[in-house]
C-alpha cells in the first residue's frame, strides 16, 4: 500500500516535469511568407553558423516545380524562369544570370538548402514583383501584401479599444492575468500567424485606465498586438473579421443591456482551443486559366470569384468561418488546390464553377471512379482520398439543392468525377452556376449570384448544425 502511494507520487512528479519541459521548449524557428493568395511558413535550420531554408518549401507554394537533379545541378522551374543551384556553390543562376546567395548551397537527404538571406533576391527575381523582407522577424511580404490597422480608444464608463484592420483577421488570443496585492494587471496578446499585419507604430499609450497600452511586435514569422490594462478584457470580432474590439468584461449582475455592436462570434481564445472548423471556398480557374466562356467578355474565372466572395460573406453572417482558396486573379493548379485544402484541415470544401449548358444551378457530389484500397497506416490513396467523407459530401449536396429549390431556383444534384473533389479528405462538393441569360444585364446576374450564395450558405449551416449535434 505504502509502495503504491510512492509510485503514484513519483508518476505525478514525472508527468509534471515532462509537461514543464514541453511547455517551456523554444518554438522552432520559422520563416513566414505572405502572398495575396495565401500565407505559409517554413522551417529555418542552423547550419555552419548560418540560417538556412529548404528551397522547395519556399518556392513550391508559389507555383515552382520541385528541385530536380540534372547532372550536378538542381533545377527549379518557376513561371518559365529556370533556377539552377549547385551543391557547395555560392552562386545560383536565374534565367541565365548569376546570383550570389551569400553562402553555399547544401543538400541533405535530397533536400536543397539555401541561406535564409538569399530568399529576398531569389523571390524578387523569380516573381518579378516587389518583395519585402523583415529580416529580424523572418517575415516576407510578396507584392505589397500588407494588412494595416488603426487603433482607437473610445473613452467612457466602459472604455473600448477598437482595432480596425484593412483585411479580415483571425488572431490567436492569449491572456495573462497578474493579481498583485494592490493592482490587477491583464495582458491580452493577439497573435497573427497567417495575416501579414504590419505597423509603423510600435507602442501606443492610453493613460492608466482599464486599457493602458497597445504594443506591436513581430518575431519568428508572427506579428503580435499586446494590450495591457488593469481589468480583464473581452474580445468581440465584427465587420467580417475586420474589426476587433477589446473592452472590460461587463459585471455579471449588471442589468444594463449590452449596447455594443452586433456581435459577432468572439475570437477563439487561449491555448485550449480545438482546431477551428472552416469552409474552404475554391473559386475555380483564375489567371491564364479562364475556364468556360459565358458569352461576350464574361469568363468563368470572374463569376466564380465573385460568387465565392459573396458565399464567404453569407457564411460569416451565419457564424461559420470561411476562407477563399484564391482571392485574386491568379492561377492555382487543380492538385495544388486539393493540397492546400488538406494541409489547412478544412471542414468542408466547396468548388465554385460556372458554365453551360442548361439553366439554374447544378450541385455535384464526388463520384469515386478510381477506388483503391486504403494504404497501411494513416495514408490515403490520392485518387480516392475522399472515400471516408463521401456520405457527408452527398448529404451536403442534397441540403444545398433543397435550399436552392426553396428559393425558386432550378437545381439538380449529380455525382461526378469533378477535379479535385476526389483528392479532398474533407466533405467536398462543387456548385456550378449556369448563366441565366447570356444577354442578361449585370444586376440580374448579380441578383442570381446573391440568391445562390445565400442558399448554399443556408444548406451548409443546416448540415453544420446537424454535424455539431452528432455524438
Amino acid at each position: 500500500m505504502r509502495w503504491n502511494k510512492l509510485a503514484l507520487g513519483l508518476a505525478v512528479i514525472v508527468a509534471f516535469v515532462c509537461a514543464l519541459a514541453v511547455s517551456s521548449a523554444p518554438r522552432e524557428a520559422q520563416l513566414t511568407v505572405y502572398t495575396a493568395q495565401a500565407s505559409y511558413s517554413l522551417p529555418v535550420i542552423d547550419r555552419e553558423g548560418r540560417s538556412y531554408i529548404p528551397i522547395a518549401d519556399l518556392l513550391t507554394p508559389l507555383g515552382a516545380t520541385s528541385p530536380r537533379l540534372k547532372g550536378k545541378e538542381w533545377r527549379v522551374m518557376m513561371h518559365k524562369t529556370e533556377l539552377k543551384l549547385t551543391q557547395s556553390n555560392q552562386k545560383a543562376v536565374i534565367g541565365g544570370h548569376p546570383l550570389d546567395l551569400g553562402g553555399r548551397v547544401l543538400v541533405e537527404d535530397g533536400r536543397v538548402l539555401v541561406p535564409l538571406d538569399a530568399a529576398l533576391p531569389l523571390l524578387s527575381q523569380l516573381l518579378n514583383t516587389t518583395v519585402d523582407f523583415h529580416r529580424s522577424s523572418r517575415r516576407i511580404f510578396v507584392g505589397n501584401t500588407f494588412t494595416r490597422y488603426v487603433a482607437q480608444l473610445n473613452d467612457g464608463d466602459r472604455p473600448a479599444l477598437v482595432l480596425s484592420f484593412s483585411q479580415p483577421v483571425k488572431p490567436d488570443i492569449n491572456r495573462e492575468e497578474n493579481d498583485g496585492l494592490l493592482i490587477h494587471s491583464d495582458k491580452t496578446t493577439l497573435s497573427f500567424h497567417k495575416e501579414p499585419v504590419v505597423s509603423d507604430l510600435t507602442t501606443q499609450q492610453f493613460g492608466d485606465g482599464a486599457i493602458q497600452s497597445l504594443v506591436f511586435s513581430e518575431e519568428n514569422g508572427t506579428a503580435s498586438l499586446t494590450v495591457t490594462g488593469n481589468k480583464s478584457l473581452e474580445i468581440i470580432r465584427s465587420d467580417d473579421g475586420k474589426t476587433i474590439t477589446l473592452q472590460p468584461v461587463a459585471p455579471v449582475a449588471s442589468a444594463t443591456p449590452q449596447t455594443e455592436p452586433q456581435a459577432a462570434p468572439s475570437a477563439d481564445e487561449g491555448p485550449r482551443r480545438t482546431p477551428e472548423f472552416f469552409v474552404m471556398i475554391d473559386p475555380s480557374h483564375g489567371g491564364n486559366d479562364k475556364g468556360a466562356s459565358l458569352g461576350g467578355k464574361l469568363m468563368e474565372k470572374d463569376i466564380t470569384l465573385r460568387l465565392a466572395r459573396e458565399l464567404r460573406k453569407e457564411l460569416e453572417e451565419r457564424g461559420i468561418a470561411a476562407r477563399l482558396l484564391r482571392d485574386s486573379d491568379i492561377d492555382v493548379g487543380v492538385e495544388r488546390r486539393a493540397e492546400i485544402t488538406n494541409e489547412q484541415h478544412a471542414g468542408i470544401y466547396i468548388a465554385i464553377h460556372a458554365g453551360p449548358p442548361g439553366k439554374g444551378v447544378r450541385v455535384y457530389a464526388p463520384l469515386l471512379v478510381d477506388s483503391q484500397q486504403p494504404l497501411a497506416g494513416r495514408f490515403l490513396p490520392w485518387e480516392s482520398a475522399q472515400s471516408r467523407a463521401l456520405n457527408q459530401s452527398q448529404t451536403i449536396a442534397q441540403a444545398i439543392t433543397t435550399e436552392l429549390r426553396k428559393k425558386g431556383l432550378t437545381a439538380v444534384s449529380l455525382r461526378m468525377a469533378v477535379c479535385p473533389l476526389n483528392n479532398i479528405i474533407a466533405p467536398a462538393i462543387a456548385v456550378e452556376l449556369t448563366p441565366e441569360d447570356e444577354a442578361a444585364p449585370l444586376p440580374e446576374s448579380q441578383k442570381q449570384q446573391n440568391t445562390v450564395a445565400a442558399a448554399v450558405a443556408q444548406g451548409i449551416a443546416q448540415v453544420r448544425s446537424q454535424m455539431a449535434g452528432q455524438p
Partner: protein, 196 residues
C-alpha cells in the same frame, strides 16, 4: 483549198475543247483538296477489313443534358484494340458532324487505343480532342461517359479506362473532368445513370 469559215469553226472547236479540259482539271483538283481537308478534320472512315456489326452507341445530347443509347451499324475488326478504336472514331464522327448533338473541337480524334493486362484500356487522344473541347463540368463528363460506356458495351472485359492526350497524362479534359484517374467501368456506369 479549205474554206476560211471552216478553218475558223475548227479552230473555235479546238479552243473550246482546250478550255473545257483546263476547267475540268481545276475542278478535279479542287474536289481532291476538299476531300483531303475533310479527311484531316474527321476521323478516318471505318476500315473495310472488318465485318459490319449492329452495336449500341451512347450519344450525348447537350440540349437536354442527356445520354441516350442509339443503334448503329459499324465495320468492326476482330482485334480488340482496333475494334475499340473504330467504335470511338464512329462516336467522334457523330459529334464532329454539323449539326452536332454534342459539338467537339475540330480535329478531335483518337491516336491509338491499347490494352494493359487485357482489362485496362488506354485511350490516347489527339491534342485537338482536349484543346478544342468545350469547357464545362457537364460537357466534359458527358464526353467521357459516352466514350467509355459505348466502348465497354461492345468490347467486353474492360474494367478500367485511362485517357492520355497526345501520349501524355493531363490533369483535366478542359478544366473540369478528371483525366488523371483510371475510370472503373462500374463507376462510369453509375455516372452515366446520372444523365438518364
Amino acid at each position: 483549198m479549205i474554206p476560211r469559215h471552216f478553218q475558223i469553226t475548227v479552230a473555235l472547236v479546238l479552243l473550246a475543247i482546250l478550255v473545257s479540259g483546263v476547267i475540268i482539271i481545276r475542278i478535279t483538283h479542287k474536289e481532291e483538296a476538299m476531300t483531303q481537308q475533310a479527311a484531316a478534320a474527321a476521323p478516318a472512315a471505318p476500315i473495310v477489313e472488318g465485318k459490319q456489326e449492329h452495336i449500341q452507341v451512347l450519344v450525348a445530347y447537350d440540349e437536354d443534358q442527356a445520354l441516350r443509347w442509339r443503334p448503329a451499324d459499324v465495320f468492326l475488326p476482330a482485334d480488340r484494340s482496333l475494334r475499340a478504336r473504330e467504335i470511338v472514331r464512329y462516336l467522334l464522327a457523330q459529334y464532329l458532324q454539323t449539326p452536332s448533338p454534342h459539338p467537339l473541337g475540330k480535329g478531335a480524334d483518337v491516336k491509338d487505343i491499347y490494352f494493359i493486362h487485357d482489362d485496362t484500356m488506354i485511350v490516347d487522344t489527339t491534342a485537338a480532342f482536349a484543346d478544342g473541347h468545350p469547357s464545362g463540368i457537364l460537357l466534359e463528363e458527358m464526353t467521357l461517359a459516352s466514350l467509355i460506356e459505348t466502348v465497354t458495351a461492345s468490347v467486353p472485359g474492360i474494367k478500367r479506362t485511362k485517357f492520355l492526350v497526345d501520349g501524355k497524362e493531363r490533369e483535366t479534359l478542359a478544366g473540369h473532368a478528371d483525366l488523371m484517374s483510371f475510370y472503373q467501368t462500374a463507376a462510369v456506369h453509375e455516372m452515366a445513370k446520372e444523365f438518364e
